[in-house]
C-alpha cells in the first residue's frame, strides 16, 4: 500500500515531538552512572569545550580523527550507546556537511585524483582532502557537544557556565527558557494535534498559511500571558530583580585529575595538529 506523504501539520507535530523525545533522552542518559556523568559539570564544560576548540583549530585530519576516537571512547565509558550518536549526530552531520563538502572535491584545483567519465569532472586530491577534513571536523565537534548534554543535566550545564563569567541573569534566563520551551512545545503540539483530529480532507494553500500564522499568533499571546503570570508568581515569592543561584559544586581529586587530562589532551592535539 502506498504511504500518503505527511502534510505540514503532521510534519510540525513530528518536529515538536522529536524535540521533546530528545530532551527526555538527554535527561535519562544524564542520570546514568558513567565516566562523564561522575565528573564535576565545570570540568566537563571546560574539558569538552577545549577539545571542541582544538578539533576546529587543527589542520591535520589524523588529529581530528584521533579526537573523534577519544569522543567515542568517552561515550562508551559513559554508557552512551553508539547507535544514539549515529542516529542523532553522525548521519545528520554526514548528510548536511557531506552535501556541502562534496562539490569541493571537484571545484578545488590541484593534483588530479579521478575523472568522472560522462560529466568529465576531475576530482582533485586537495579537494578530497578539504572535503574529508570538513566532514571529520564537523562530526568531531558535534559529537563532543552532544556528549556534554547527554551526560549533564541542563541545570548543571547552566550553573557551570558561571565559570566563564556568564552573568547570573543570563543563566537564569537560559534555565527558564529551557523549562518553558517544553511547555510551549506541548502547547503547540496540542494545537496541531487538535486541528489534525478535526481536519477532513486537505486544506488549500491559503488556509494552511492562515492556520500556521494563527497558531504562531496564539502561541505568542500565550507566551506573553505566561510571562505575566510567571512574573506575578515570582513577585509573590519575594522577587525584586536580584537573581541568585545555588552554587554547590565541589571539586574532588578525580575532577582535578580529569581536568588535567582534558587540558593535556587538548594541548597535545593542538600541537600535533598545527605542526
Amino acid at each position: 500500500m502506498k504511504r500518503r506523504p505527511k502534510n505540514f501539520i503532521e510534519r510540525t507535530v513530528g518536529s515538536l515531538a522529536d524535540a521533546l523525545e530528545y530532551a527526555a533522552l538527554a535527561e535519562t542518559h544524564a542520570g546514568n552512572g558513567g565516566l562523564l556523568q561522575s565528573l564535576d559539570p565545570r570540568v566537563k564544560l571546560i574539558g569538552l569545550l577545549g577539545l571542541i576548540l582544538t578539533a576546529v583549530s587543527v589542520g591535520r585530519v589524523v588529529v581530528s580523527v584521533f579526537i573523534l576516537a577519544v569522543a567515542v571512547a568517552l561515550a562508551l565509558f559513559s554508557r552512551i550507546p553508539l547507535r544514539l550518536l549515529a542516529t542523532r549526530v553522525w548521519i545528520g552531520v554526514l548528510l548536511f556537511t557531506g552535501i556541502i563538502a562534496f562539490p569541493a572535491i571537484f571545484m578545488t584545483p590541484g593534483e588530479p585524483l579521478a575523472r568522472v567519465p560522462v560529466l568529465h569532472w576531475t576530482a582533485s586530491w586537495q579537494g578530497a582532502h578539504a572535503a574529508f577534513r570538513l566532514v571529520t571536523r564537523a562530526e568531531t565537534a558535534a559529537t563532543l557537544a552532544i556528549l556534554l548534554v547527554l551526560t549533564t543535566p541542563w541545570t548543571h550545564v547552566l550553573k557551570a557556565m558561571r565559570v566563564f563569567r556568564v552573568p547570573v541573569v543570563m543563566v537564569v534566563i537560559l534555565g527558564m527558557t529551557h523549562r518553558y520551551i517544553f511547555l510551549l512545545l506541548h502547547t503547540a503540539g496540542d494545537f496541531f494535534e487538535a486541528r489534525r483530529c478535526r481536519l477532513v480532507g486537505e486544506l488549500d494553500a491559503r488556509a494552511r498559511r492562515k492556520m500556521i500564522a494563527a497558531s504562531a499568533g496564539v502561541l505568542f499571546g500565550r507566551s506573553l500571558q505566561l510571562s505575566e503570570d510567571v512574573f506575578a508568581a515570582m513577585q509573590s515569592r519575594g522577587f525584586r530583580g536580584e537573581v541568585y543561584t545555588m552554587d554547590d559544586f565541589l571539586m574532588k581529586p578525580r575532577d582535578w585529575g580529569a581536568l588535567a587530562a582534558f587540558v593535556a589532551l587538548a594541548l597535545a592535539a593542538f600541537r600535533a595538529g598545527t605542526q
Binding site: 578539504a130 558535534a142 541573569v169 534566563i173 527558557t177
Partner: protein, 362 residues
C-alpha cells in the same frame, strides 16, 4: 543558516564574538532598564516562543514547507533590542542542548540572525509601515518585507563569512582548511536558497502573524509603533472602507459641477457694485426681487467695501483660462481640494498636539 562547528576558523569566530558583544551589552542594558523586574520572565518566554516557532513547518507556494527563524516576528513585536536577546538565548539553547549550530560559531550565528536579522527586520518594518494605523494593510506588507529582507541579510552575512575562509585559511598545498567555497560560489549558493524557500517561510510567518494580530490582538503591535493610538484608529484614519461613501458622494458632486452653468443670472443678494450700473443686470435684479427696481446708484457701503478684496478666481473663472465653462469646473475641483487639504492639515496639527501632550504626561 545555523553554521555548525568546523565551517569557520577560530579567528573568524573570535572576531564575530567580539562583534556581537557590544550589541549584547547594549541590548541587555536597554531591555533591563525598560522592563526592570519583568525582564527575566519576558525574555525567557519570548526566547522559548522563538525556539518553538523555528520548528513550525511553514507551508510555501508549490506544496513544499520551510522553517522560519522568527527574527521578523520578534523584532516587529518587541523591537530590535529585546529581539536580539530573545533570539540569542534561543540560539544558545539550540546550539548547546539540541546541537543545531556550532558552539564555536555561536557568536557568528548570533551576529547573523539575532543582530543583523533583528536590526534589518525592525528598520524595514518601521520604514515601510511609517505612522500608518495598526490595522493598516501596509503593516502586513511591511512585516512581509521585513521578514524576507532580514533573513536574506542574515544569509548574506553567513555567505560572506563562508566565502572569505578559503582565501584566508588554507594549507600549504592550497586546500581550504574551513568552508571550501570562495565568495563567488558561497554568496549565490546561500542566497538562492534564502531568496526562495527560507525567505518565503520568514515572509509568510511574519506577514501572517501581523495580519492575525491585527484582527485578534492589535495591542501587541503597539510596542514598535509609538504615537499610533489603538483606540483612536477609526477617528484618526478611518481608511477607505469607513469613508467610502463620503468620497464617492464628493466625487459625484464634483462631476456634477457643470450643472451650475445651466443656472441663469446671479444668485439673489450676491451682486457687486457694477451689477447696479449695467441695464441687463438691473433687469435681472428687479425680476428676482418681485419687480422692485434696484436703487439708481450702487449702495455706498457696497461700493466702498467691495473693492477691498478681489478673488484670484473671480466668478469661478480664472483669468488665465479663455474657456469659461472649463474654468468653472476647474474652480470647483480647486476649491474642493483646498478644503480637503485644510481639513487634513488641521487634523495633523491636532494629532501632533495630542501626541506631544501624551508624551509630557508620560
Amino acid at each position: 543558516m545555523h553554521i555548525p562547528d568546523g565551517y569557520l576558523s577560530p579567528s573568524t569566530c573570535a572576531v564575530l564574538y567580539a562583534g556581537a558583544m557590544p550589541f549584547w551589552l547594549v541590548a541587555l542594558k536597554k531591555v533591563q532598564r525598560l522592563l526592570k523586574t519583568r525582564f527575566v520572565p519576558l525574555i525567557s518566554l519570548v526566547s522559548a516562543f522563538c525556539f518553538v516557532v523555528m520548528m513550525f513547518n511553514v507551508p510555501l507556494p508549490g506544496g513544499t514547507t520551510g522553517h522560519a527563524v522568527g527574527m521578523g516576528i520578534a523584532a516587529i513585536v518587541l523591537g530590535p533590542w529585546a529581539s536580539i536577546l530573545a533570539i540569542s538565548v534561543a540560539l544558545l539553547i539550540q546550539a548547546v542542548f539540541f546541537g543545531d549550530g556550532g558552539i564555536t560559531c555561536y557568536g557568528a550565528n548570533c551576529f547573523n540572525m539575532a543582530i543583523v536579522g533583528s536590526l534589518v527586520a525592525w528598520a524595514v518594518y518601521r520604514l515601510v509601515s511609517g505612522r500608518t494605523p495598526l490595522q493598516s494593510p501596509r503593516r502586513v506588507v511591511a512585516a512581509a518585507l521585513a521578514g524576507y529582507l532580514a533573513i536574506n541579510a542574515s544569509a548574506l552575512c553567513a555567505a560572506v563569512e563562508f566565502g572569505i575562509q578559503p582565501g584566508l585559511f588554507h594549507d600549504p598545498g592550497g586546500a581550504p582548511l574551513y568552508a571550501p567555497y570562495p565568495l563567488s560560489v558561497a554568496i549565490p549558493a546561500m542566497l538562492i536558497g534564502h531568496l526562495s524557500f527560507a525567505g518565503l517561510a520568514e515572509l509568510v510567518i511574519s506577514a501572517g502573524l501581523v495580519a492575525w494580530l491585527q484582527s485578534a490582538n492589535v495591542s501587541l503591535l503597539k510596542l514598535t509603533a509609538p504615537g499610533v493610538e489603538v483606540e483612536d484608529e477609526l477617528l484618526q484614519a478611518p481608511g477607505w472602507s469607513a469613508l467610502r461613501w463620503f468620497w464617492v458622494g464628493l466625487a459625484a458632486l464634483m462631476i456634477a459641477t457643470p450643472l451650475g452653468l445651466l443656472a441663469a443670472g446671479s444668485a439673489w443678494g450676491e451682486w457687486d457694485a457694477d451689477d447696479f450700473k449695467k441695464p441687463e443686470t438691473r433687469q435681472e435684479i428687479a425680476a428676482a426681487s418681485h419687480n422692485m427696481a434696484p436703487p439708481e446708484n450702487p449702495p455706498a457701503g457696497l461700493e466702498r467695501l467691495g473693492s477691498i478684496w478681489s478673488a484670484p478666481f473671480p466668478d469661478y473663472a480664472p483669468a488665465f483660462l479663455k474657456n469659461k465653462n472649463f474654468g468653472y469646473v476647474l474652480s470647483a475641483m480647486f476649491g474642493t481640494g483646498l478644503i480637503i487639504f485644510i481639513c487634513l492639515l488641521a487634523g495633523w496639527i491636532s494629532r501632533l498636539g495630542e501626541s506631544q501632550s501624551a508624551r509630557q504626561t508620560r
